[in-house]
């Protein structure tokens, strides 16, 4: 491979690149704060995802370089934990709990209703960038089964799929305001 091809991989966060996003300054702070700690990588990736919304390739490259560890190690971690996303996510993350209790109380139907209402499959993001639909593992709120979360909001005892449009409406109107 020639040098010119490799230059394309230049990290957008590297100094000297034209559009260095201010988000990288935030990331620098996070890295500086955690760098020396054991297990820093996961903490840094966690914060990086909060800053960027997901973990794009250039962010992973940036973190690997800052920590002086192989990129393969970073990629191994980001692909291992379902929490980390390598693709852009919607403004609101809908996670329908598919734990046993929720599942037997109709979480499957609920998930299907979201798919239909949003026009996306599990794991995908709506075209307007508003919602990402996910099936989560047990979130430990079995008493509220079936339970789902939208961002930090928790919705329990959603016994009817007809409530799906109501739940979404709140976030859709938020957008218009």
């Amino acid at each position: 491979m020639g040098v010119s091809e490799m230059a394309e991989h230049k990290c957008v966060g590297c100094p000297g690149t034209l559009e260095r996003d201010a988000k990288f300054d935030q990331l620098d702070d996070v890295i500086a704060k955690h760098k020396a700690l054991e297990g820093a990588l996961i903490m840094i990736l966690h914060k990086a995802q909060l800053i960027f919304g997901y973990l794009p390739e250039e962010v992973q490259r940036y973190v690997a370089k800052a920590l002086d560890i192989p990129l393969a190690d970073v990629y191994g971690v980001t692909t291992f934990y379902s929490y980390f996303s390598l693709t852009p996510r919607g403004k609101h993350r809908i996670a329908v709990c598919m734990g046993t209790a929720c599942y037997v109380r109709g979480a499957g139907d609920l998930l299907a209703a979201f798919e239909k209402e949003l026009g996306v499959k599990v794991g995908q993001t709506t075209a307007d960038g508003l919602f990402t639909l996910e099936a989560s593992r047990c979130i430990g709120a079995c008493g509220l089964a079936p339970v789902l979360t939208v961002g930090e909001d928790v919705y329990g005892n959603i016994m009817s799929v007809e409530r799906v449009p109501d739940i979404l409406r709140k976030y859709r109107t938020e957008k218009q305001q």
């Binding site: 490259r61 990129l71 190690d73 191994g76």
Partner: protein, 574 residues
Amino acid sequence: MERIKLTIDGAPVEVDPGSTVLDAARKAGVHVPTLCFHPELRLEGSCRLCVVEIEGMKSLAASCVYPATSGMRVRTNSEVVRKTRKSIVELLLANHPQDCLVCPRHGTCELQEVSHQLGVRKIRFKQESRGAEQDLSSVAVVRDPNKCILCGRCIRICEQVQKVSAIGLAGRGSKAVVTTPFGHGLAEGPCVACGQCIKVCPVAALKEADATEQTWRALNNPAIHTVVQVAPAVRAALGEEFGMRPGALVTEKLVTALRKLGFSQVFDTQFGADLTIVEEGHELLHRLNENKHLPLITSCSPGWVKYAEHFCPDMLEHLSTCKSPQQMLGALVKTYYAEKIGVSPEKIFHVAIMPCTAKKFEASRPEMGRDGLQDVDAVLTTRELAAMLKEAGIDFANLPDGEFDLPLGMSSGAGTIFGVTGGVTEAVLRSVTELKTGKELEDIEFHSVRGFAGVREAAIPLNGLTLKVAIVNSLGQAEKLLKKVKRGEAEYHFIEIMGCPSGCIGGGGQPFSRDPEIKHKRAAALYRQDHLKRVRKSHENPAIKELYRTFIGDPNGEKAHALLHTHYHARPRY
């Protein structure tokens, strides 16, 4: 400390503290099958094939990672153990392509071997294809994820021994794969093409990029003049592919075999090695005089050179500017030799037989040629050559002796020992001491630089100066040593770095071997060859002297620099 006493299948056995149950079983003469286990790598215990029953334990234990303790009663062949192992193999086979008959690892595949050994006769699970694409981005190493059994040996050697980490495990559970970051392909990352991953892969998930097809085409084209060179380490290992004893020295048969394949001229990379020594020796003396860019670090290992470009770009000025023996000889074939026989370089197809996969990358570097032609057109590994010889029906073990063609086939014993760690240093010392003092060496064997320790140091008296040398083999050792040098904790005049453990004899293109003594046997073959040589110092090789007199002029002179020296450039690590 007290020895550990346990029983394996009822038989008492004693092992040293720190031993695993697998060690104990092997000591008791029981062959426990393994896949993810590799004697030179960190233990992992991920494939579970080596499970055994330990009395008092609820579940089976992976013997390769389970520590042996006194009083332990182990069963290695109970019904449940045998059934479990079979199931594991069946599960592996359920998504492993069943194309064994046309697989390059047919006959050397460890999965095939354990399947046969455990008597797996049917696969109860539905066959599933992963439908993954091969990674063909690298000119040296090909990855076929469909064949991968996730043992992780490639990852471990790349990370622990070579400190490169070009590949890693990604994903989780049934979606786990061995891959490059973001699946970009080996050529996009810091892979140095050393091929150590191929050497430890139990299946054909990693293999060299094929160069046999283009070689056959050239050999079958009457309009093309085919020239071959063969590296020292090949002659110490090729015999293994033909049932000869490990460590058999097959130089003369090898020459005959290459002629039988159809090569017009059979040259010796050792000639290139002698030339490298003369050039590098003068370069060292020059740097010592100027006291500049010391330590001088060798540049004949292309895996190391690429590693330096990715991982230590700040050290590049320390690298010798000498091309490797392969490329020195290549440059001469397309210039000196072409002129001599009056054939246009375009009509010459130059093949190099190497113990190495990184040589494929080296030959493809744009700076390794002129006028749009590469100096080396194809690089075959020792394994690829063996495959071609088999395909051609050549009865290698019974071939008569042959001799290299002159002048580029004439070499010294110093050129021979290039193939083993420490060899380049010894060859340099044989020449440099004589060049510096003008006196003949009484003893030309420098035993202080031989051996296999990861890092070796020696202090050699050199006309009033004490020449401090260090020799490392494997890139992990190189990383460690260079860190010390950078921190000023160690000071040398000369460092030999070989990218592969034990040097070229342990190269990524060498025959697969599970002989624990293999490096010693192959090295002994090269030292034997050195002994048998009439000329044992590079600068005394008559063909080298003739080359300088009639073609190159002075060592490190203008023409030498144009043809025999090169430059390096930093490559990204991320």
